[in-house]
Subunit: 351 residues, 2 copies
């Protein structure tokens, strides 16, 4: 009973981008945790390891030798989930047994020649080089493929099997589920409200402030009102931008800066290299380049699993898989916590 | 190029129950794995531990003492995500900031007084008692709540913090996302095809056989054509049944039997207590008891994370979170593997 308080009374919040709901039960964070503890990441990664296929000069699975690269380095994934030439599955003989062709390419992109660096420890110039390469790949693969998914799995907890700083780029001949979903919801919002959903959302959050984590002249990062992961964030431009490759010079610099500030805060939260999966969503490409995509607004999602400490994660399991995502602190609490953290990396602080 | 073969050529498959797609890239299972290894479950669980709040006679967080129960035992979750009396959030002041009331109850149900047992090691009579209690809770909570989610998180890998055999029951004042989704797709299928989707699907799979894992007179278990988790299964009745509480006596016995056979195969796959999240989906209840729910067919989903061994799981991360689920072996390969396993539990085999 009593007056509603989000931090005390469970409630559901609507995610307009995915057209679904999250259950917010912030009182749950009080319960003791006796379940699985995660291993903290190993801190002793060698800067250069000839047996690490992502290092300059190392030999990869296919026998190729990496160049002595000095900035970013892109190469084809040796075990690609998408290949350019898979034949069509035959016609379906029944509506409950439908298959479709899936073609594409999978690339790996190293951020830096050193294995012991991560994005938050890189310089602004180095992060800017990553952004430029992202934009270049998005444009290059987007010339023919309708969807180019750039994503980073950071940390062993997120299925990342190599500590060398890198991301992946999977381009596909089809719009994947999440792309279809966000295309539908953003299209509907523009047609109903006359303004792109995430442009309006960024304006609102800039004004409301309680879910802001960091901001600058071109960008803002919020814990979205509908966040499912404990410290999930959404990185948004203030200007209407459809795709990474449309970013201006100055916006690329300010993106490097805001990414660095966010990722330093993430690492500082539990004083650990913060695991997450992140990825970019922008307007579809390929034949969609010819179509009206004004309902789209470029954005990046960060999905970090940690909940209470470097070793206690949120499990999205039973209820979440079978029914609905559930979170244990409010987005406002998460944003406040992140906002209050220093912008100097804990490893670089004067002792 | 060449003729299409599902086990060699990546393709997408449609999930008619969730109205989305999965990317099947079966050639990927060949790649080496150098990422995180899971801890195998501890095998040394004591049968009775006075400090385990799920044991008979133990004291729980709220100070209550458990009875010396001999079968199943149900009690309120001491840290419930849903409480019956949360106040309404105020009216939304903007369409992008929508909250809704969420009320409910969360219960814990112990399957057995012994902490060192799991369902596959329990007798048919004991499993039958679990089924009866499920049906009872579904009816009791369903009298007022529209959705009663029964689910089991098994294994530390699935966020389960207590080895004692148990499941949870969360009843809510709203239809959660997955329920809404399955309601919509099943309703549409019945209206377009004149037969409940999962009834037709079970008939098809019984005939096609290649994705069957186990079957008996009343039930079948398949790796669904659209499975996302490596060894995901779907447990289906052959008869049109809307809810757990509608099952006949004989069907409850044959359900105990088919669950035991499936779960023994699961444990035998990697000779480990097989982790999973599972849960029941049936027609909504509460005020929906008055409505036409003939499009619904009762079913259970099993979502197990293991991929290659007791310590190598599938990570649903970057691409999966940002774009689309991807699997590394075909559903037919998974079904064949499960089908070929013995129906005697590896712990109970004569040495
Ligand atoms: O209630 P438990 O078992 O402690 O908690 C587990 O299951 C819940 C329901 O799926 C999840 O929300 C938790 O993240 C998980 O750790
Ligand atoms: O390609 P990787 O990094 O070895 O693999 C990782 O990312 C992929 C894309 O999200 C996932 O499909 C894998 O399950 C995960 O382990």
């Amino acid at each position: 009973g009593g007056r509603f308080r989000a931090s005390e009374h469970q409630h559901a919040r609507y995610n307009p981008l995915r057209d679904d709901w999250v259950l917010v039960s912030a009182h749950r964070v009080k319960r003791p945790w006796q379940g699985q503890l995660e291993k903290p990441p190993h801190e002793d990664v060698p800067r250069w390891d000839p047996n690490n296929p992502l290092c300059p000069g190392a030999t990869r699975a296919n026998g190729e030798v990496n160049p002595q690269y000095e900035g970013t380095f892109v190469f084809p994934n040796d075990f690609p989930a998408l290949q350019p030439d898979a034949p069509e599955p035959g016609d379906s003989d029944h509506p409950l047994f439908r298959a479709a062709a899936a073609r594409g390419v999978c690339k790996v992109m190293c951020f830096h020649p050193w294995s012991d660096l991560t994005l938050p420890l890189m310089s602004l110039v180095e992060i800017r080089a990553v952004i430029d390469k992202w934009a270049e790949l998005a444009a290059e693969l987007g010339a023919s493929y309708p969807w180019v998914q750039i994503f980073e799995n950071k940390g062993a907890m997120m299925g990342c099997s190599n500590p060398h700083p890198h991301c992946q780029v999977w381009a596909s001949s089809f719009l994947p589920n999440e792309a279809c979903l966000e295309d539908r919801t953003q299209r509907q919002h523009l047609s109903q409200h006359g303004v792109p959903m995430l442009l309006e959302y960024a304006e609102q959050e800039a004004r409301r402030k309680e879910r802001l984590v960091v901001e600058n002249a071109d960008w803002l990062v919020v814990v979205p009102y509908w966040a499912t992961w404990p410290y999930q964030t959404l990185l948004l431009p203030r200007r209407h931008v459809c795709r990474l490759q449309d970013l201006w010079e100055g916006e690329r610099d300010s993106l490097a800066s805001i990414m660095q500030r966010l990722l330093i805060k993430y690492d500082n939260l539990f004083e650990v290299s913060f695991p997450y999966s992140m990825g970019w969503h922008g307007a579809p490409t390929g034949s969609f380049l010819e179509e009206d995509c004004r309902h789209w607004q470029l954005h990046a999602h960060y999905y970090p699993p940690l909940l209470r400490s470097a070793t206690i994660r949120k499990f999205m399991v039973g209820y979440e898989m079978l029914a609905q995502a559930q979170r244990d602190l409010t987005p406002e609490q998460a944003a406040e916590r992140l906002r209050s953290l220093p912008e100097v990396h804990y490893k670089q602080r004067a002792k």
